[in-house]
């Protein structure tokens, strides 16, 4: 049996990728299971998905803690957490990035495959949904399933949901990614401060879970804790407001689901610490004063 852990953000399709991979393995005669783990997160929040493949029925129902492969759909995630956690000694990480494997820095040197799945997705699909492109990279990097099976699985799974044409386009994204994937070794040495988590005992837990603002060893908890938890890093596209065009109508302020827009001198202004880049403001703006721009993080 081998196990894959997918790291992505809500909306990038990590779950669909994990499921499509399982289907591809199944098409080749294997037994495969796949499942996501997420909470109530919206588009952009870190989410995980898992796939297990074996030649016999898989009975274990736990999450995957010691994967053979780690797949990272969003390279910003390698900055905030050690995606190699639990990766087997001879394991491999597959990352969506424009960098070459040797340019990637992780917690330890490790077999690494890279592909610029975002650019491929934007070019072929017109959207930064990288889950199909990354599947091509997995096929290339691991050799565990053929790209033909990946394509079949994508057409079956995505075609059923999005229509035949979309299925084929996604299969193409996988094929292009397969061809462009580079395999090498990533650098090690990147230090991660383990994130402390508030894990109260029964005694420490506020009665009935009624949580006031609390300072804990793991930082703020409860009301106001988002002062520390800046969720703007979920963003792929950022809204840019053209102050010349803005007429101060407050439509964006009204529609923003995150309360991230305030009015300054009668013009809209975005709080990028928390804006998730959903684009609703740009969609609602009656004078097209808001443009969603691909965000490049360094």
């Amino acid at each position: 049996m081998y196990e894959i852990r997918f790291h992505g953000r809500g909306g990038q399709g990590g779950r669909m990728a994990a499921e499509a991979y399982a289907l591809a393995a199944f098409l080749e005669g294997s037994y495969a299971v796949s499942f996501p783990f997420f909470g109530a997160e919206r588009r952009g929040a870190p989410v995980r998905a898992f796939t297990r493949v074996d030649d016999k029925k898989i009975r274990i129902k736990t999450q995957v803690y010691e994967p053979d492969y780690v797949v990272v759909l969003d390279e910003t995630l390698i900055e905030t957490e050690d995606v190699l956690e639990g990766l087997k000694e001879d394991g491999m990480v597959i990352i969506n990035t424009a960098k070459k494997p040797e340019e990637v820095r992780l917690s330890k040197p490790v077999k690494c495959a890279t592909v610029d799945a975002t650019s491929i997705a934007l070019e072929i699909l017109g959207r930064p949904i990288t889950n199909t492109a990354i599947l091509g990279a997995i096929a290339k990097a691991t050799g565990r399933v053929s790209i033909d099976s990946i394509e079949k699985a994508i057409i079956e799974k995505f075609g059923a949901r999005l229509g035949k044409e979309a299925g084929e386009k996604n299969a193409k994204a996988a094929r292009v990614a397969y061809e462009k994937t580079l395999v090498g070794v990533a650098q090690g040495g990147k230090a991660f401060v383990p994130r402390k988590k508030w894990l109260p005992t029964v005694e420490e837990m506020p009665i009935g879970g009624a949580t006031p603002a609390m300072e804990t060893d793991a930082g703020l908890v409860g009301i106001g804790s988002f002062i520390e938890n800046k969720t703007g890093d979920w963003r792929t596209f950022m809204p840019i407001i053209d102050k010349e065009k803005c007429i101060g109508c407050k439509f964006c302020w009204f529609y923003c689901p995150e309360g991230c827009i305030s009015m300054e001198d009668g013009k809209a202004s975005v709080d990028y610490d928390y804006c998730k880049g959903c684009g609703i403001c740009a969609n609602e703006c009656p004078v097209n004063a808001i443009e969603m721009k691909r965000e490049v993080r360094t």
Partner: protein, 397 residues
């Protein structure tokens, strides 16, 4: 706030006793949906509001689900709340019951035990409250109207204790208590205020001191919260014993905690009863005792928390135990039977189940005598079955 009410003797229904108990406890908010299967409890209370005896907020809502929702919100804002329901209404409330207990809100809600449809019946059966077993509410059953009034008062004192903080559901049998008048001693409002004290919430919705209550909570935290509720329910056993003792000291009526033993001291067989059948069974026990039969009775007051230790202690000294149920868990047995046998696990005493009075059929002395007759036989020879449908046409005993 309520007007000062002197102690008085009344001849009232169980419904009135339940409403008057809430009045004496000076509840702040009552939310209710006054339509069948609702009983007169909330209507009686609305009269108190109308007459200016209390300035409690009476909220007319559009369903029982909303009644409990309103109570939860008001209680979370620091109010002492009250509502009442029965059968189908309780079933509709089911979802919200979990929220009240998990948020540790000591709401008090009498339930008039009525048949849950189908077919439609408004008479006494316990198949409305017993399925609420796992909602985290303290659940108990009353024997007479005096106990109804007294229990409302004790319910607030037990539920609001810092080591408990759980909602309480006192149950009363439909018609047999709810629509039956009998004499009831009511204490004065001052006495009750002194007895139950002021409600001090463990946490409350307050704009000046914001707090997250009942929010989305991942798996890392919920199991500890579940354990807290389990501990609170275990603590309730001690609280119930202490509060019934305090109540007896203050008002002279002793309810003996989780169960009451009646002539169990030298009993060879005992019958466990719940609700109003207890009173009838007392008569039967007295009659059988006169005939020299060593029979005893256990009035089971609390279903949650369940009096495991008490029942085990009694079971050590008897030769057969019968459990009376007015509800059935299809494919298994009566809920109290299942519970009792679990509590007595490993003990070498036969436990039999008697089902009677379903759908509100009257349980007569002859029915109870039959139960004791079967128990006396079971003490001498191993019974050939466990579950007896008393007085069911076409079903032999």
């Amino acid at each position: 706030m309520i007007q000062k009410l002197p102690a008085k003797k009344m001849v009232v229904t169980g419904d009135y006793a339940a409403a008057y108990g809430a009045l004496l406890c000076d509840v702040d908010v009552v939310a209710a949906y006054p339509i069948t299967p609702q009983t007169l409890i909330v209507e009686e209370f609305s009269n108190f509001v109308n007459d200016g005896i209390t300035d409690a907020e009476f909220i007319m809502v559009e369903s029982e689900h909303s009644a409990m929702s309103a109570c939860i919100a008001a209680q979370a804002a620091g109010a002492r709340t009250y509502t009442a329901t029965a059968s189908q209404g309780l079933a509709l409330m089911h979802e919200m019951l979990f929220i009240a207990s998990a948020l540790r809100l000591p709401i008090v809600m009498p339930v008039v035990n009525r048949t849950v449809a189908a077919p439609i019946g408004i008479w006494c059966e316990h198949n409305d409250s017993m399925p609420q077993r796992d909602t985290g509410w303290i659940q108990m059953a009353c024997e007479d109207n005096q106990e109804v009034l007294d229990m409302i008062i004790m319910a607030y004192k037990i539920g609001e204790r810092k080591d408990v903080l759980l909602p309480v559901m006192p149950c009363l049998d439909a018609f047999i208590l709810s629509h039956t008048v009998e004499p009831v001693d009511a204490p004065s409002s001052d006495e009750v205020a002194d007895f139950i004290g002021k409600y001090e919430p463990h946490a409350m919705l307050d704009p000046d001191n914001p707090m997250a209550i009942g929010t989305f909570t991942p798996p890392e935290y919920i199991q500890e919260l579940r354990y807290q509720n389990h501990v609170a329910m275990e603590n309730a056993k001690k609280a119930i014993k202490e509060v019934t003792k305090e109540f007896a000291d203050e008002f002279g009526r002793d309810y003996h905690g989780l169960i009451e033993e009646y002539k169990c001291d030298d009993a060879e067989v005992v019958l466990i009863t719940v609700g109003t059948v207890t009173g009838t069974a007392r008569e039967v026990v007295d009659k059988l005792r006169q005939q020299g039969k060593k029979v005893g009775l256990i009035k089971l007051r609390f279903y949650r928390p369940f009096p495991r230790e008490e029942l085990r202690s009694i079971a050590e000294n008897v030769e057969a135990i019968g459990v009376y149920d007015r509800a059935i868990s299809y494919g298994s047995g009566g809920p109290l039977f299942i519970e009792t046998r679990n509590a007595l696990y490993g003990m070498d005493v036969p436990v039999l189940n008697f089902l009677a009075g379903l759908g509100g059929r009257d349980v007569v002395t002859g029915d109870v005598e039959k139960m004791y007759e079967i128990l006396m036989k079971a003490k001498d020879s191993k019974p050939d079955k466990e579950i007896y449908w008393i007085g069911t046409r076409g079903v032999s005993i």
